[in-house]
């Protein structure tokens, strides 16, 4: 076989493979929905089928509670994410750039990240009272640590070679920032934003599940008390779509930046 034949064969294989992958990626959610529908028919009391869930969602929008809870939760989430990121990034930058203080406090950050911070929730309630303030504070508390940790990692990964070159070329601080630091930090920044969003959301949901007057988590617990399975399914769908949607969007942006990095970097 000639080289051309071989190459053609390979490109056919690749195309077949990507077709299989695309088929698989559609098949998985379809199978899940089918299994879900079957389970909903088998256990009508405990499981709401996809059809019922869709119906509940539509009714929820008409009755107003779905959009209202979504609005309340999203508002809290947005505020919390902004605060968490605004605090987490500077902390990460400072601790990343300075080896001494970084070493001193990194272990505290990592420990805080891997403890069940939820048990401290009553402290927030005692400090802020019931309502949005404590939820936002609690969510921020969850979001700060991953942001700082990722940013520290990002700063540490700035290639020393690049910084030395900047030094040799006697670039001003602004120029060094623009040409070397900022591009190097753009991917860690995006990852930090995504993780910050995820964990802030997690903290908010936990708080709303435990003690809240409104919002998605509150609706979940409210539905639980009267065993309103359909509402539980509907809200779960909303939350999953929200979480996955935001993550997917952020991840697509991340990919564009990570490709650029690969072009630059032979491994030193």
């Amino acid at each position: 076989m000639s080289v051309v034949d071989k190459l053609y064969e390979q490109s056919l294989e690749r195309r077949n493979r990507s077709q299989i992958v695309r088929f698989g990626r559609i098949a998985v959610p379809v199978t899940i929905v089918l299994v879900w529908q079957v389970l909903g028919l088998l256990y009508p009391g405990s499981i709401a089928s996809p059809a019922q869930t869709l119906d509940t969602l539509v009714r929820g929008i008409e009755q107003g509670w779905l959009l209202k809870s979504l609005e309340v939760s999203l508002l809290r989430l947005a505020i919390a994410v902004i605060i968490a990121v605004s605090i987490g990034i500077p902390i990460g930058l400072l601790l990343g750039m300075n080896k001494f203080w970084g070493e001193a406090y990194e272990s505290i950050l990592l420990s805080a990240y891997s403890t069940p911070k939820v048990v401290l929730l009553p402290l927030f309630l005692l400090a802020f009272g019931i309502g949005t303030k404590y939820l936002v504070a609690f969510a921020v508390f969850h979001g700060i640590f991953p942001v700082a940790i990722v940013i520290i990692g990002g700063v540490k990964n700035i290639r020393e070679v690049h910084l030395r070159i900047a030094e040799i070329m006697q670039l001003s601080r602004w120029k060094t920032f623009r040409e070397i630091i900022a591009p190097s930090m753009s991917l860690p920044l995006l990852i930090a934003l995504r993780l910050g969003f995820n964990l802030t959301f997690l903290g908010l949901i936990l708080g709303e599940l435990f003690q809240s007057d409104a919002g998605l988590g509150f609706q979940l617990m409210d539905a639980l008390t009267i065993v309103d399975t359909e509402r539980i399914f509907a809200i779960n769908v909303v939350i999953v779509v929200l979480a996955v949607g935001v993550n997917y969007a952020m991840y697509t942006v991340e990919r564009r930046f990570s490709n650029r990095m690969d072009i630059n970097a032979p491994e030193y």
Partner: protein
């Protein structure tokens, strides 16, 4: 490069002089100590009422009393059981899944976007549903811990196996190892650090998942103890349980870190 100096040291005040006098670790311990002192003084001052914040020393005393009296024991047992059951299940199901996703790369490619989504979803949203399905007992807690733990284990085992440099299995082929043998003697050992990271994270998530689920709603457990005591206005017991959870979490983290250190040493050898 001068040791101890960050390359970006022109940007932030130099740490070289600090390092001659003080070790970073001391700052860590000093900060933690100062925080504890501040909490203690704050509790004893006029700034907070007696019912809201208890002094740490009193919390410690109460904790020892409750532990000695055995009132915490059933909860500790429930929590520990849930954590280990969840983690165990995650290991038993996670390893086969991870290996399958790695060995059959088409499966892995198909599954990639879904695994990423799993990281994004706050799993606690399924807890109310699980309570409806299985009742208010330890089972929903175990399931949540299992799910959260599995995600970390599958992710890390799989990437650990796929990060093994191509050279290693090629050597195995040269020696004439079978597929299974090369898996056991080449891939697995090479992937051990990342696999251990997965196990470490898996355990941590099992712990966090258990405590959080118990806190939201449960019949027993340390997380339940904190939230129940809060709702009953038993502030002292709440703080004692809180302190116990934090202490256990920090201890477990420390143990896992030590184990990680030993694995590193074993690798060098």
């Amino acid at each position: 490069m001068v040791s101890g100096q960050s390359v970006m040291s022109g940007w932030v005040p130099s740490d070289l002089e600090l390092r001659r006098v003080v070790k970073p670790k001391w700052i860590t311990y000093l900060t933690v100590f100062l925080m504890l002192v501040v909490l203690e003084l704050l509790a004893r001052s006029d700034l907070t009422s007696d019912i809201t914040l208890w002094p740490l020393t009193e919390i410690a005393v109460l904790l020892v009393q409750e532990l000695a009296a055995g009132t915490f024991t059933p909860h500790i047992i429930q929590t520990a059981s849930a954590i280990f059951a969840g983690f165990g299940l995650a290991v038993l199901t996670g390893f086969p899944i991870a290996i399958a996703l790695w060995w059959f790369d088409i499966l892995g490619e198909i599954a990639d976007p879904f695994l990423l989504s799993l990281y994004a979803i706050p799993m606690y949203i399924f807890y109310p549903l699980l309570i409806i399905l299985f009742g208010l007992n330890i089972i929903p807690v175990i399931i949540i811990a299992w799910i959260m733990s599995s995600i970390a284990i599958v992710e890390n085992v799989r990437s650990g196996l796929s990060d093994v440099p191509d050279v290693y299995p090629k050597v195995g082929k040269v020696i004439g190892l079978s597929g299974f043998e090369s898996f056991v003697y080449i891939y697995l050992p090479a992937a051990v650090p990342q696999i251990f990271t997965g196990l470490k994270l898996g355990f941590i998530y099992a712990l966090i998942g258990t405590i959080a689920s118990e806190f939201i709603l449960a019949d027993r457990g340390l997380g339940f103890l904190v939230s129940y005591s809060y709702n009953q206005f038993s502030t002292g017991r709440m703080y004692a349980a809180m302190a116990l959870v934090v202490i256990i979490a920090i201890l477990m983290n420390g143990v896992l870190l030590m184990m990680e250190g030993h694995i590193e040493q074993w690798r060098e050898a």
